[in-house]
């Protein structure tokens, strides 16, 4: 038996152990309406970068963009783990967060007042100035202030020290300055995989909290479990230990660094000599979070298709068994993924090249969630609480300056992608804890380009004493009211996103949806006609998208898959393990069957007669009709984004942009401009809801959802 096989066996054993240790949320009905606290949906983002890692903007400036310029309600700043040389407490000099490109043309209209000058080119951080100065050159004692291993000149600071000693105080101050919850997370470089968005809130005191907080646990997590953190100092004076109480994998911990690491593999990743070690370490990371901060942490794999399918001897992508392992290890910590990546304006949308699992993005979403019947539907078909999220993953604007509105790389947080999450703490009581609770609950949805900005999605058992149409009208009205209030339906006998409805066999179900297609402009800088729609004779300004239709997607819940059932538990995209053949579009709603209000609210409903089997339902919607060439198929499914904009930028595209206002940075071949970059992203907008589960009494239990 090869060493690789031996360690693969260890990995499988670890996975099985994870399952055995799992704490599955008991199957209980959706909470009684009267006891469910009131709440509201708030928008935010939890994965973006600054000069603390490889981002172009300072912490202060990115926070300002997020919660001020683009009005997000909350923000988690999550840079990469590892180390960096730049002193990221420094901001651009002068700090001018608002530029003419954002619509503020004089110093009297900016939020900061005073006599400031807005240069037309903005204020990108210049080499050797502002946040591009090194830690070593700016700290009082120079290199002596930089802890842990390292001999580079200038010496790089480990992220754990940055987070603990420098980054946290800046963010705490920024949070209170803006009166919004802003706190630290980490896009960890996964051992065994690519990246995961994480946070540990414990210790942090973002607004509205007061007093001096700390991000010590977040810092320790980075030291212990980030593959790029090869420091062996145990956090210098902290003398951290990375063991998990009672874990058999503590035997893998290196005696010096006190984390899972080996000589020549200090990050503890997958290598040819240590196959699967990285994945084991990542599962330990989830377990560690669950032990240290079970209620204030999350672990959400990011752009998880991008690095390809899993490779036991390298640090690549995630297969479905890895998501199952994480969720089994700590369902309250690992409860979803970012299958819709950031970098939406890049030439290969999301940064997904030909090596990505599933081969690129589909309407901006990776294949795991973008293709019906795939990985996400397989997880939901188990009844797992595994939810859909997205992030902007802002690093820079590509060839454009930070203050320019065009981009051929990334959108700012809140500019294009938003996570809308239910916070049940009540109006005026928006807290970071409530946001994490909301993310964990699955009561959330994602929308790009503000194709919708409000959603109510509810499934109810029909009242047998009422005619069906009266049932539908009543629940539709409840959904419309919820959208008007930016809230949710709280009616006994109903369940919303992330919840499950317990229904008797044979009951009729009423699915009601209300969305708001916001009136006016979104954040797109372009008002010329959407080139994708222009193909089919529709003239619609890019900055005024209109929701075309909403798909109700459903699939059966057949129960948790045991790790021992390897054929159904583990496998790459397209395998039996990663498929749910029952998933399909149940209903298409559009202007022919929804009720349109003048305020952009559309209400619609669907009847499921005589429900027999446990199942789930989820929504997606878009501004593009079915059969839009190079964008959607005849059923309305998103096509590969390479259809519209081939990954090879030297070849012509498929959707011409003939309007005189089409910007010059678009793909241009033989003098013809083609939809690409940010124009392609603004043209092709989607939203995704999280699921509502239905558990039929005496049927399959929906175990993972409260």
């Amino acid at each position: 038996m090869s060493n690789q096989n031996t360690l693969r066996d260890v990995a499988l054993a670890a996975a099985a152990l994870c399952a055995a240790m799992s704490v599955i949320v008991p199957a209980v009905a959706a909470e009684k309406a009267a006891t469910k606290p009131a709440g509201t949906y708030v928008s935010g983002d939890f994965h973006n970068h600054t000069t603390c890692s490889d981002g172009a903007l300072s912490l202060q400036r990115l926070v300002d963009r997020s919660v001020n310029a683009y009005s997000l309600d909350w923000f988690v700043q999550a840079d990469h783990g590892g180390s960096s040389a730049r002193n990221c407490t420094l901001r651009e000099d002068p700090f001018e967060p608002v530029a003419p490109a954002l619509g503020l043309t004089s110093n009297s209209t900016g939020p900061y007042g005073g006599t400031v000058t807005y240069p037309s080119g903005g204020q990108p951080a210049s080499t050797g100035k502002g946040p591009n100065q090194s830690w070593q050159s700016t700290l009082p004692n120079g290199v002596a202030d930089i802890k842990g291993d390292g001999t580079a000149n200038p010496k790089r600071m480990w992220r754990w020290q940055e987070i603990k000693e420098f980054q946290y105080p800046v963010l705490e101050a920024e949070s209170r300055k803006h009166n919004k919850p802003v706190w630290i997370g980490l896009e960890t470089n996964n051992p065994g995989h690519e990246h995961t968005s994480t946070t540990i809130l414990t210790g942090q005191l973002p607004w509205p909290k007061t007093g001096a907080g700390n991000a010590n646990l977040m810092a320790q997590f980075e030291y212990c479990f980030d593959r790029s953190d090869t420091d062996t100092s145990r956090g210098a004076e902290n003398q951290w230990d990375c063991s998990v109480s009672g874990s058999p994998n503590n035997s893998l911990i290196d005696p010096v660094s006190r984390k899972i690491a080996k000589a020549g593999n200090l990050g503890g990743g997958n290598t040819s000599t240590d196959p699967n070690l990285g994945h084991i370490k990542s599962v330990e990371a989830v377990k560690w979070m669950n032990e240290k901060a079970p209620n204030t942490s999350f672990y959400v794999p990011a752009h998880l298709e991008r690095a390809g399918v899993y490779n036991p001897t390298a640090n690549r992508g995630f297969n479905i068994e890895h998501l199952r392992n994480f969720n089994n290890a700590a369902p309250r910590i690992a409860f979803g993924f970012e299958s819709m990546p950031g970098h939406q304006a890049q030439e290969d949308r999301g940064g997904y090249g030909t090596g990505a699992a599933g081969g690129g993005t589909f309407g901006g979403s990776g294949a795991y969630a973008g293709l019906i019947g795939g990985v996400w539907d397989a997880l939901l078909g188990e009844g797992r609480n595994w939810f859909f999220f997205a992030s902007s993953d802002y690093h820079n604007r590509g060839s454009f300056g930070a203050d320019q509105r065009e981009t051929n790389s990334d959108f700012f947080p809140g500019e294009y992608t938003k996570d809308h999450v239910m916070v049940r703490k009540g109006k005026g009581d928006l807290t970071a804890e409530g946001i994490i609770d909301g993310l964990r609950s699955g009561n959330s949805y994602v929308a790009n380009g503000d194709v919708i900005d409000r959603l109510s999605f509810v499934v109810c058992t029909a009242n047998p004493g009422l005619p069906i149409k009266a049932n539908q009208a009543l629940i539709e009205k409840a959904a419309a009211n919820a959208v008007a209030n930016k809230g949710e339906v709280r009616i006994d006998g109903c369940a919303t996103m992330g919840e499950k409805l317990v229904a008797r066999p044979g009951a009729d179900l009423i699915v009601a949806v209300a969305v708001r297609d916001p009136q006016g402009k979104n954040n797109s800088p372009y008002s010329f006609p959407n080139p994708s729609l222009k193909q089919i004779g529709v003239t619609q300004p890019l900055d005024k998208p209109e929701l075309d239709h909403v798909d109700l997607i459903g699939g059966l819940v057949t129960g948790y898959v045991s790790p021992a059932d390897t054929a159904r538990y583990a496998g790459p995209i397209g395998s039996e393990a990663a498929s749910n053949k029952s998933a399909k579009i149940l209903k298409v709603f559009n202007k022919t069957n929804w009720t349109a209000g003048n305020d952009g609210v559309r209400t619609m409903s669907y009847r499921v007669p005589a429900v027999k089997a446990s199942q789930y339902m989820r929504l997606r919607g878009t501004n593009l009709p079915a059969a839009t060439p190079f964008e959607t198929d005849a059923q309305g499914n998103p096509l590969s984004d390479w259809e519209a904009s081939p990954v090879d930028q030297t070849v012509k595209g498929n959707i011409a942009c003939a309007d005189a206002a089409c910007p010059p940075h678009m793909r241009t071949v033989a003098g013809v401009k083609y939809s690409s970059f940010d124009v392609a992203a603004w043209s092709d907008l989607w939203f995704y809801s999280n699921p509502v589960f239905v558990e039929v009494i005496n049927g399959v239990k929906v175990a993972g959802v409260k």
Partner: protein, 168 residues
Amino acid sequence: MNAPKFLKLAIAGSLISLLAACGSGDDDVASDADAQSSFISAYTSGLDTLGSYAGLVSSKFRDLFDAGYTDSGMTKADVVAALDSEITVSQTSPDFVFPAFPMAKLSKASIGNCDAVTKICTLTGTLSNSDADPTGADASAVTEVNFTTQVRQDADGKVRLLGDQSKS
């Protein structure tokens, strides 16, 4: 009495009878006003108590559905089966929570637009639900919709729900 006069009296008598059957005060050809009132009262209270065991087993509530009731494919037999199923599940499943479906309150109900021959009338009213979050920022927002369906006065004089008679 000659024939034409007899005919006039007969016609007049019929009109009087018809007017009496219709009640007074509007253009509708009403059925028995008391029967209508009784139905509205019984249906309103029946809906109010449908979230309880007593409401589900109530024979009085079941009797409010006409033998010919059909609505979106649901027949009276389907309604009765649904009520029975709710009872069974409530007694056997620990997961069952009363009420298992959204409750609805009927108000402002009236019956009109009656057909003298078929004795089919239109029930209109307002349905509302005690949504736990009915107000939010807008105090006027309540879960309330207008409600219309057909009722029929049967041979026993009682008014019952007839539904929209649609098969699906």
